[in-house]
Subunit: 219 residues, 2 copies
Amino acid sequence: MKTIVLVSGGMDSAVLVHYLRKEGHIVKALGFDYGQRHAKELKFAARLMKSLLVPFEIVNLREVFGAIAGKNALTNLAVKVPDGHYAEESMKATVVPNRNMIMLSIAIGHAVALEFDAVAYGAHAGDHDIYPDCREPFAAAISDAARLCDWRVIEMMRPFVKMTKAEIAKLGAELHVPFEMTWSCYKGGSKHCGMCGICTERIEAFELAGLEDPTEYET
Amino acid sequence: MKTIVLVSGGMDSAVLVHYLRKEGHIVKALGFDYGQRHAKELKFAARLMKSLLVPFEIVNLREVFGAIAGKNALTNLAVKVPDGHYAEESMKATVVPNRNMIMLSIAIGHAVALEFDAVAYGAHAGDHDIYPDCREPFAAAISDAARLCDWRVIEMMRPFVKMTKAEIAKLGAELHVPFEMTWSCYKGGSKHCGMCGICTERIEAFELAGLEDPTEYET
């Protein structure tokens, strides 16, 4: 099976690539540069994919999202990235309008063009209630669209959708994922800040999984 | 109601903008530059929107589609645009993989960011059986995704979906659409070629509608 994998540079997609390869998939990785403040995640993704000999392509969406995402904390340096646990109000500041649908539709286009069979992404149980476009009915609509958009049927795969981030970390450890080669922090500083929503989740995931956290945090 | 309208420069979207304005919509038009050989359609779109005082923005997708659409007649000058009536085999040469989903998802992103209510596009009865992504089940999946992708619900509108191109032409004549300010031909020469699939449809639409065709054709 030939599968396009959405890769962010973070933990979940790193585990996903390892998992799919172990399951026998031929994998091509796609990353997206949408002007995110933490674009360094893409450098981490590139380095990790290179070490795995997985072909990796970065789709430049800076101009596309420049016109869409003006007020967003992930792309606008004037807006502060919220600290602490994800909560609906603070999370809204990190939503880039329709980012997931845009990235998935481009990945589906690549799958059709390359005569691949599937597109996989690292959605997990922790996402669901916060972002509307991480919820099940949205994912089902995209899966329908992927099956129907072309003569070629593309399958959407979310193998981690019922797993917590801690369970994904545990699976990653079993698959020998080099977590020190992944980047999560939304602030994109020289080290992980240890304070923002995604750092908070990363720290917790290693703790709950009973794993040593190889990440250097500022705090 | 505030509505993003996908505008190509052709007849259908020109009629759509006129129709929605008459229905009381506040309209913003979006065009897409995906490296199409007939990019001059966008100049026609810009001129028409300017004459209507409709804000018009062109989304640059050349790089995005450059990576996807290598073998396609609309974007690759080495591939001949097929002449004559649309037929499944020849049409496949003009399919840009997942183009519609990518364009619609970007339009939905604009609608969310601008706090608009809807995205409208000029799908019509003639499209359905040829392109998978013009068929009803695909459109339904996209409508679902648009309702579910954000806290804000975006409605997808396809008011012409049960109309033939001739009926759209007739409606356009009633709305005083200046058809001489529209461009259809896939070949993008100095005049409409009068031979390719879309020219063939354009000629027929005016004939069947009993309207004078203001277009200058090469043949």
